[in-house]
Symmetry: D2
Subunit: 181 residues, 4 copies
């Protein structure tokens, strides 16, 4: 099972990345930091006569990495009770891939599995739930299996290490991912 982690955080060594790294300790995987890529917000041309015009940015490179893996981990901090703008810009562009003749996007996504890892500072296990539900609809739309999610609490860098439950959940996820290899 080839694992890809998409990091949506905007800072180095944030809590979400730390938690995700714990979950992946000792597990081979590819890792992409969306903040290091240039991905433009979508220009919705679904209904234009010529469809979507190509965009000269890094989106293709990232979506090709998605296509080439079996298990996608969406690792995003909770920014304003949703996924980060970096990640949202990326997901919005899927509308383009849905119509891209180079892929059978939905068919490919339908064979993949996914997991969401997120952290936040303001009651994330309650106020992060709209984000969890949004991913439910997103993944269901493309047919990807939603294997679960992990929510941690943290604000300042390193806080996450004090969230015992998140740490424990990350360990169990680590074991489970190893068992799926």
């Amino acid at each position: 099972m080839k694992i890809l982690v998409l990091h949506g955080s905007s800072r180095e060594e944030g809590n979400t990345e730390q938690l995700t790294n714990l979950a992946l300790q000792g597990i081979p995987h590819t890792s992409i930091r969306l903040r290091e890529k240039e991905i433009r917000p979508i220009h919705d041309q679904r209904h234009d006569a010529d469809g979507f015009a190509p965009v000269a940015d890094d989106y293709d490179e990232v979506i090709e990495a998605v296509m080439a893996h079996d298990f996608i981990i969406f690792s995003t901090p909770i920014y304003w009770y949703g996924m980060s703008g970096y990640m949202k810009n990326f997901v919005d562009r899927w509308s383009q891939s849905l119509r891209d003749k180079r892929y059978s996007f939905k068919e490919s996504m339908g064979q993949k599995r996914a997991y969401v890892i997120t952290t936040g500072g303001d009651q994330p296990r309650l106020k992060g739930l709209p984000l969890i539900q949004q991913f439910q609809y997103v993944l269901s739309f493309v047919g990807t299996t939603y294997d679960g999610y992990l929510i941690g609490e943290g604000n300042k860098p390193g806080d996450i290490l004090g969230d015992k439950r998140a740490i424990e959940d990350a360990k169990l996820l680590n074991e489970w991912l190893k068992s799926q290899q």
Copy 2:
């Protein structure tokens, strides 16, 4: 009551804009299309020694418009069961304004009211609910009164005119906005 509309759509004359325009017919307001602005995703520097570095883009101009109005309408299509990346990039940057000494951001936002107008193609009145709930947390965090929301159904340009309920809701919103002037 000074009204500002923030349009999050990425295309001209989309259903969300049409519905919003109906709701605002005959009502003086300022209108900003986020797609015509350059707003970078946030770089989270909350915990950096020097705090946020200034960003040379159009964010300041837009947030100053927000500061200068009393009633903010967030008009965004449902993209992948959430607000558009354009709008998310904008809202994410509020973290910067919260620490910006030029404003008392939270205090100002706490005196404003807001409304959400959104449309989508895939059962928006059900699958748009995480977006509605996300705005509930966003607005509650800054203390803005959440006066309500309006959800319409549409996919192809113009579809919205066939959604009688959305049209009726927009008319009532129009009357109500006029009564608040």
Copy 3:
């Protein structure tokens, strides 16, 4: 299209019933007030050797009415941010019907359509959303088409008449139901 209304309210002439009656004005339908029936909470015997024991109450009568209609309107006030206990007791008992050899419960429900009408006093259009989402899962589990929902605001008897939007929505629902006859 044979319409059944299940009233979950516990009082006479409550706002939810009033709103529902508006939506059904001039439309033939059957109406059941759950408060006038004795329906015991479920005793979960799914995993008992002999399965569910028959219960001597009015459940059978009500579920047979459901079986005999095509369009079910769940009309419940928002009690503590969920459907009323009367309605919950009734829905819980579906677990029994799922295993009842007299019906092909899921198959029958899969051919029906449903609508939810609800009112509440504390920001019902926001805080009633978990109830709307719960019905989404409930109806989806049995395959019933979820045609929509209508939320009104009201506390004291008669309040609902002051909620213009709910009244307008009820009128549109009335027209739509007539068009489906």
Copy 4:
């Protein structure tokens, strides 16, 4: 800290009770099985001239137990994507206690803390979220601190022991409860 567990399950030795018992191992607490009490659905008389008429059932006994404890654990299986009818009937009756002169209900509840433990068979960590959100509104209305929730997966009796994550979460909750004594 005096702990009260309210069991909402309708069967002996169900998964929810098992999980709750794990979380409480070695911790003194009071335990009430709502299925062993007779609690009538509410009759909404908030707006009657004479207010609520007394009801001759076991509600008073249970709500007095709530009043006498500091930490309330709502332990309910997910029945049809919500709390069980037993528990809903009980919570609905709080409307009566809010107006009961024997208690300062809201004031008392405002000094308590609460936790939700739930299990279900159909993707409970996703489809149980409306239940989690409903409790958020319920507890917030009466001012009770919502210390968290624990969701387990199980269908047949004993299934829960196979849900490693729930077991681990229950152990952490156990440690935490002990630390709060």
